[in-house]
Amino acid sequence: MAKRVAIVGTGQTFHKSHRPDVNGQELINEAVQRALADANLKMKDINAILIGNMDHFEGINYVDCWSVDGSGGVMKPVIKITTGGTTGASLAIGGYHMVASGMFEKVLIIGWEKNSESDTTGAITTAFDPIWDRQVFAGAISGLAAEAQGYMARFGACDRDAARVSVRDRKHATNNPHAQLRKEVTLEEVLASPMLADPIHLLDVCPRTDGACAVIMANEDVAGKICSVPDWIWATAARHSYTYLGDGDWGRLTSMEKCAKEIWKKTGIKEPRKEIDVIEMYQPYSFAGLIWIEDMGIVGHGEAPQYIWDGNTDMGGELPVNPSGGVIACNPIGATGLIRCAEAAMQVMGKADARQVPDVNFAVSTGFGGCMWTDMLLHGKRKPN
């Protein structure tokens, strides 16, 4: 029989734009040590390690093999999962299935990136098909600009609505000692910041970060012994479904829609807006904060801007989004999706300190990849049925 699985510990580095004092695996080691300490476990208690990053950001082949000194992987099963921007979430999903299958009792999941070590845009451009797309595509931002334009044209939103999302997340980040950017910004500052790709301004998008995150998952036989309030994984979903740029349905994130529908159906969630208490969304730019909560089924299409202006997604609101400050405040890409998962876990476990949302029963964490992919996890305080 499959096992139920919970997160029993998390750890992160204090993410910065540059970490010259450590190499990649020393960075990994910091997050791993913190996760072990959080779970009160030793390396010998870990049965397998899953690790991921985006290869071309660090230029190291077979990272799972290279990083064993830092990850604790010597003489353990170590496996690498990488799916671009969704890597961190795909790792969390991988850890879940590895434990649920019964093959491992406790796994350590590591996502990391040292974006400072390379030309991020140069590396991202190599994601795109070399024959058809690569020569005209200008990095992640172009796809996002196309999406934003599509949404604005269909639903009448404007860049001011998106800027409100940036303001929210940057304010939330002031409560998060791990976030890279911890200064608030105003609406005017966002709209006045340099235009990157119309309608996206500099302060609408994520920074480049060096950081690592580690999450420990355990099965139901031991989770309750390791920590008093484990974070149970109720369901996972992923859609990685397009290959050429012209295939996307601009203005709607269909992969998010499909993941959400699958998860709500599987877990019996009928009214996500009421039943979900907090969302940590991989939101690489502000417009996504409008579009993607609609596709998640929180509010109807075109309704997000008003929902957000009314303060519903702020701390203290009906459904806080990104209490950690999210991706706009911090983006070590291979870690980012896992940080969302760790932050959602901390919310359920009551370990989120100054950014804690009260009485969390269900939390959602998502991952996003620059090719309009979505990964999603539902976290819960109660054990799943």
Binding site: N61, D64, P77, I79, I81, S90, T126, Y242, E262
Partner: protein, 381 residues
């Protein structure tokens, strides 16, 4: 724990240069072959795991290139970066995790599209080692020297692996390099890095393999007799060569021990009928056999010479021709699994071995066999 089985396999021919096929074309071919083999349609597949390498493909997010062709468009999917045996391990876990019943696993690469020396040089530590300019071949030469020094073997003792495997490939229509070789042929081929000559080394090839793994509750529903996954395990050793004993492979000993334990195998030499292992270089077949417990340390070469590992011998090793006869990196381990499946089903055609109830498939990740994945497959549940 619940059980799972492999219910379909599909392999493209392994070639030096598939100039008419993109990654997606190869995936399309392998996936459709696997579905046909299983008697399934893509709708019978619950989730998809692809295996690829951003470095080998020259693409960040290399999985993107094959997702649609692998039928992943509206399914749950993920990607493992590493040898195909590791991707299949994750696929197995997903068939048992309660969320899915059938997992399609693919693995691909096109060696013809890249410069392998530079790709494998990138596996070395950027700060301490990369600038010294080693690659997989010169690294494995270093391991071969350590192994020969420890065991007293000579290059002539390793060459017969090449003769056997290229010879076996004569009976495998999918192999790239079927060749009838003599000891002289091997010993006179170009020295690449002492002691490894050209015929001691596998090529770097193009190919894609797909396998379908099913939970026991549905495994018998389709066309084939299921081939049961009785044991599987993987383990990773130290990274720096200087931290390891290159003449041995601790991580393979561990992975094999765990796989045998899970499968209930007490005496592998007697209980394993056929082996498909990761013979990227001739010395590796010998060293891996020994560390898997299928020969005593230093003694595999003698057994090889006596015909013990021939197709008609007591323990056939690499009846397909192995990697020496065609090596699409990443897909390599999946081909080993697929070949063992065919053997156990009696479907290996001209390279079928006589007794095949229990088989071992093996894959490697990293430099000089730093990480190993061992699978034990069986006709019986």
């Amino acid at each position: 724990m619940d059980k799972a089985a492999i219910i379909g396999v599909g392999m493209t021919k392994i070639e030096a240069n598939k100039e008419r096929d993109t990654f997606a074309d190869m995936a399309w071919e392998a996936v459709n072959k696997a579905l046909a083999d299983a008697g399934m349609t893509i709708d019978d597949i619950d989730n998809v795991i692809t295996t690829s390498s951003d470095f080998w493909d020259g693409r960040t997010i290399s999985c993107m290139a094959v997702a649609d062709a692998s039928g992943a468009a509206d399914k749950n999917t993920s990607c493992v970066e590493g040898d195909g045996t590791y991707g299949a391990f994750y696929g197995y876990a997903r068939a048992l995790s309660g969320s899915y019943k059938t997992t399609l696993v693919t693995g691909h690469s096109k060696g013809s599209q890249c410069v392998s020396s530079l790709i494998t040089n990138s596996a070395f530590d950027p700060i301490y080692e990369r600038g010294l300019g080693m690659d997989m071949v010169t690294a494995c030469a270093m391991q071969a020297n350590a192994y020969m020094d420890r065991t007293g073997l000579k290059p002539e003792d390793m060459a017969p692996v090449s003769i056997k495997n290229h010879g076996n490939a004569l009976k495998n229509p999918l192999a790239q390099l079927p060749m009838k070789l003599t000891l002289d042929d091997v010993m006179k081929s170009e020295m690449i890095a002492d002691p490894l000559r050209k015929l001691d080394c596998s090529p770097v090839s193009d190919g894609c393999c797909a396998v379908i793994i099913a939970h026991e509750s549905v495994a018998a529903k389709f066309k084939q007799q299921p081939v049961w996954i009785k044991g599987l395990s993987f383990c990773t050793d130290h990274f720096f060569f200087g931290d390891r004993d290159l003449a041995r492979s601790n991580s393979l000993v561990e992975a094999a021990k765990n796989a045998y334990g899970m499968a209930g195998i007490k005496d592998p030499k007697k209980e394993i009928d056929v082996v498909e292992l990761y013979d990227a270089f001739t010395y590796q077949e010998l060293l891996w056999l020994e560390e898997m417990g299928l020969a005593e340390y230093g003694k595999a070469a003698g057994l090889l010479k006596a015909g013990h590992f021939n197709m008609d011998g007591p323990l056939p090793v690499n009846p397909s021709g192995g990697l020496l006869a065609g090596h699409p990196v990443i897909a390599a381990g999946l081909y080993r699994i697929a070949e063992v499946v065919l053997q156990l089903r009696g479907d290996a055609g001209a390279h079928q071995v006589k007794k095949a109830k229990t088989g071992l498939a093996h894959g490697v990740n990293g430099l000089c066999g730093q990480s190993h994945c061992v699978w034990i497959l069986d006709k019986e549940r």
